[in-house]
Amino acid sequence: MKPEDILKVAEEEVERQKSYKYRINVCCSSGCLPFGALRVLKAFEEAIKEFGLQRKCKVSRTGCVGTCSVGPVVIVEPGSYLYQGVTPEKAREIVKSHIISGEPLKETLYTNEAFFRKQLRLVLRNAGKIDPLRIEEYIAVGGYSALIKCLTKMTSKEVIDEVIASGLRGRGGAGFPTGQKWNFVVREKNTPKYVIANLDEGDPGVFANRTLAEADPHAIIEGMAIAAYAVGAEKGYIYIRAEYPLAVQTLREALKQAKFMNLIGKNILETQFNFDIELRMGAGAFVAGEETGILASIEGRRAMPRPRPPYPATSGLWGKPTLIQNVETLANIPVIILNGGNWFAKIGTPKCTGTKCFSLTGKVNNPGLIEVPMGITLREIVFDIGGGVPSGRKFKAVLVGGPSGGCLPESLLDLPIDYESLTKAGAIMGSGGIVVIDDESCMVDTAWFFTDFCVDESCGKCVPCRVGLLKMRNILERIMRGEGRLEDLDILADLGEYVRDVSLCGLGQTAPNPILTTLRYFRDEYVAHIIDKKCPAGKCFKQEEVIKEA
């Protein structure tokens, strides 16, 4: 295929879509599926058939719009009417009232507009709007035109310069400038080079990458292809968690379609550029998301990180130069190429451009997936978008950055979200998990939960992480049993700083964060456990009884 052929596909698809007056998008992503989304889809299809509306209305399965707590959700276009909690019976009613009579079914509509008002969707631009299993729909909304622009009008250097101008930083957590990373790889003489898309979203409580893969897989593939063109790679891997069966299936199908259209493979769009992508599955190891861990895992070994340097840019997969990027970073690339780096740099804050996806969960009224411009405050996320803590309870803390993030108290809610501010406060951007904790939860217990997770997931290679974290967990358990001593708090703090400073990889370096931040902001709860032998939230000692009973 040639670039013109792709444009023709786009035109045809737009024409085809125009022929329908209505379009019903049923969210069939992992959030809505368990609640009967497929039955709803079937009910819509049957109703359309029954009333003979096949030419007037198109029913599609799409990805997630983010309001995962009120699923299954359905969008009716035009007008983006969002229906919540749709059942097969309601589906029939919606067809009767909305499609036939033109009257939206008011009582089923999602009315909480605050959830969307402060969001800005670049990465999730197509989520919930297109059918992820039809490449034509992605092309019709301008998909792959960034790749065409790169291949036909831009040199590799121009592509990298555009990414540098955008100020985009890695969304995997560390926030390394993306353009600079590309420059490191392109400079290497050693070939072949590889591009790896990191979709090993191991943080419990985080599902942004999965949602992206399920809703818009081609955005990832296009981003990868552009990255490969820029750094001179011919082979790519998408490393994905095996726990995400739907995302695996969606990506597999998307790769097949992209290959069929010659958007990946040999002589892409009849140019000299070759790039092939393979899918590789993880098997449940948190540490495999670390960039040297991912390399080991793709090579078929234990996902144990190794010291850097050499960085993967110099010596990565099989010792060859390798570019590793999170899929969210990659999905930003087509937007940057089409709109220009300078346009992108205006979004967010000067040092932290663009948007970030967050999985908002825990004790909050509107949990779900959100995408917001950098620099927004935590308060806006938790209270404006999230709608605050469910009634009768009090906000206590918010955990930012997954199991190795930090627990921040109410006084820090006005913190603007960017890499530097979060790190200063003791949290991390991480993979973008925000868990809201209310006064029912005990902070010592919360710190224990995350430390326990990291003990479990530590690969055991370096001593500080393997032994240090275990010691810290044991001290926490002692405190939770009511046998703690005040010196324990100093030991925890010292040990935590030690593990943070000398561990080999990101897991160990950030694992003490939950303990360190809870010690910093919620010290009184620790003291209550030690001196008064009481858990202010009434959790710890109660749990002890349960175990005894059993």
């Binding site: 943080d203 409580g205 078929g300 969960t361 779900g368």
Partner: protein, 143 residues
Amino acid sequence: MRGHGYERSALLEILHAAHELYGYFDKDLLEYISGRLNLPLSHVYGVASFYNLFKFRRPGEHVISACMGTACYVRGAEEIVSAIEKEFNVKRGGSTLDGKLSLFITRCIGACAMAPNITLDNEVIGKATKEVVLERIRKVLGG
């Protein structure tokens, strides 16, 4: 294995395929893989045991995986798991004596907005409560 050209680097992919086929690894299966790929058994076992997804014991007839991700934990998954352990006399990670029921803990299935989530024989129970889950398990075991 043939599909991967007996490539050693495809070990993880091959383990996946074998695990899907048999449901768990026993010594014979690992020995077979090690022989065909010409890799030491210790290496094959080492890789297989490193990853949480792989099981080394035959799972029970019915399988519960309780999500213990952050969101589920904060929303009370622990209580549900304790209740299951107590009522059906099964320990997390193990099976009942009659082999009818296994209880596994998973790290986040990614449906956090519906937390807590308990998966019973591949069907997700979202916004789970102790009562609902216990009832569902009783029904499955009884029928």
